[in-house]
């Protein structure tokens, strides 16, 4: 971890790091609970967990302002929470309740909160990339220095919308970050079998923009790369492609019995590089956090998630007739 490049007063940076740790642990605990409740039948359809990749969403979103915009993928809980989404409304959406972010119309794969610049999780691989590029165009037209961030996976980087959108953003110098979460697998397929290059970031050269490879399990490395890209974007110098090498600990989805091509040893090896444990240990070593404080923080997070579950359980399901509402804006 690098702490020599700090531009902020020391105490700001210290408290920011503690908030980043809290955010990462919130994502993990939220998803552990979501997975349990999915297995128990309280959450429907499909749930994709982000566990193991928390440093990417948190590192990038820590470099953003509230009015900066992001778009996410089918594996979207982490991005939502890192951008500041409300735990209660998120969990209620997973529970299919009226009080959820989408009033029960979206579920796990379609959580959005436009009030915090979260333009939605998107169930189509690469589908969100052009849309958030449009948010980047809006930010440029507005001229107030806002930026927009596209989160996507290694799989999406092989699809047309990735290439078409980056070409446009580079040509128009849109204030964009394209953040590839390379977790080495495109659903059940080994990413290296579908990608001729070892680094997705190398594709940036084809569009004349910077491409950066970052250790996606090192939250401060991600943060610093994002901060540099955000500064560049706010200064009107255009987009950056950041590739975060990371790994998901769990299967493509939480559905039981699905095939997983990944060797057990590989999964275990990446668990040893746990981005949360690594960051917490580092903060303890620096004297910014004690074991007790870390356990207290975790207990607070678990309590907040328990509250979110209670909120969801107590919330009503939408009236069936609401299925025909919201097709059009009035």
């Amino acid at each position: 971890m690098t702490l020599t490049t700090e531009k902020q007063p020391r105490f700001h940076r210290d408290s920011k790091q503690l908030e980043m740790l809290r955010s990462m642990q919130t994502i993990r605990r939220f998803e552990e609970r979501a997975s349990d409740d999915y297995q128990a039948g309280a959450i429907y359809g499909v749930v994709h967990c982000y566990i193991g990749e928390e440093a990417v969403a948190v590192g990038v979103c820590a470099a953003l302002n509230r009015d900066d915009q992001i778009i996410s993928t089918h594996r979207g809980h982490g991005h939502c929470l890192a951008k500041g989404a409300d735990l209660n409304r998120m969990m209620a959406e997973l529970y299919g309740r009226q009080t959820g972010y989408c009033k029960g119309k979206g579920g796990s794969m379609h959580i959005a909160d436009f009030s915090i610049g979260m333009l939605g999780a998107n169930g189509i691989v690469a589908g969100g990339i052009p849309i958030v590029t449009g948010a980047g165009l809006a930010a440029q037209l507005e001229g107030k220095g806002r930026v927009a961030v596209s989160f996507f996976g290694d799989g999406a980087s092989n699809a047309g919308p990735f290439h078409e959108s980056i070409n446009i953003a580079a040509t128009w110098k849109l204030p964009m970050l394209y953040v590839c979460e390379n977790n080495l697998y495109s659903a059940g397929t080994i990413a290296a079998d579908t990608l001729a290059l070892s680094d997705v970031a190398a594709r940036a050269a084809g569009y004349g923009i910077p491409g950066v490879v970052v250790d996606g399990n090192d939250v401060m490395a991600v943060y610093e790369a994002a901060e540099a890209a955000v500064s560049r974007a706010r200064a009107g110098q255009g987009p950056t492609l950041i590739e975060c090498k990371t790994y998901r600990w769990r299967g493509h989805t939480e559905r039981p019995g699905q095939e997983d091509p990944r060797p057990k040893e590989e999964i275990e090896e990446w668990r040893q590089r746990d981005p949360i444990n690594r960051f917490a240990t580092n903060l303890i070593d620096q004297g910014l956090l004690t074991e007790d404080a870390w356990q207290k923080m975790d207990a607070e997070i678990l309590a907040a998630i328990e509250d979110a579950v209670k909120f969801s359980e107590e919330s009503p399901f939408p009236e069936p007739e609401a299925a025909v509402e919201d097709i059009f804006a009035d």
Binding site: G100, Y101, F114, G123, G160, I168, I327
Partner: protein
Amino acid sequence: MPKISYAQAGTDALIEEMQQDATTFHLATSASDELVKEFGSDRVRATPIAEGAFTGIAIGAAGSGYRPIINWGMITFSFVAMDQIVNQAAKIHYMFGGQAKFPITFRASVGGGRRVAAQHSQSPYSMFMNLAGLKMILPSTPYDMKGLLKSAIRDDNPVISFESNRLMGVEGEVPEEDYTVPLGVADIKREGSDVTLVALAWLVHEGLAAAEILEKAGVSVEVIDPRSLVPMDEAAIRASVQKTGRLVIADEAGPTAGASAEIITVVTEDRETFAKLKTPPKRVCALHVPIPYSPGLEDHVFPDRDNIVAGIREVLDAG
């Protein structure tokens, strides 16, 4: 009232709306000098020929407070952007519980008759009508073009403007003052009492010509132009059929699961209107084929005034 062309009416609507609303901007694969000169290169942009990307860009900008106007060129090019149209634009407002508005206008030319074969000739309205979440207009005159397109641009939802390529040069009277034609309001282009002809786009004109021919034979044809397909003015269509007791539909698209099939259903599913029908409805549509190139082949595929006359006679002969 000055006379202008159908194409000019569209351009005038675009310019006037862009003058009135600073959140509008225009994306297409080319940027006209006229538009760039008036609005600058920030608000009038030539995109790469990447329909999927610039369609998605419109969605994201719309969700961020802007009111994009997109020109796909020909409707067949929009098929390249199907994920963005079908999975994103149509669903995004609903899927997110209505928390944001997506005011987008998508313009595209439709129809045949230009000898440009299958990949540049199509009227695929019903492909889009089958989706929930998109509105669509189909003007047949310069007056309707300008008024409907203004309504589309001001609407807070994605609206597709299907613009008939056969009508681009057709002139008609258009007021100089600001006006709109609301979505979902049909227009009776000609009143009549013996048969209702619901005609779409170019076939409104062929239908009016057919009505002239039939008038000489003592047949009174009411010609209705729905003008917008979503929302559809069901009440106007039913009221006309209740009056005449007969229904013919003329559409440049093929018949299968088409707008024409939907219009028949609007009539036959309504008990009161169904009870007034004297004969089964009749469709006069294009043949169900990709559009061919050679003039004799292409002309054989599309219906014209003669086919409409024949269709109406068939209905009248039936009772």
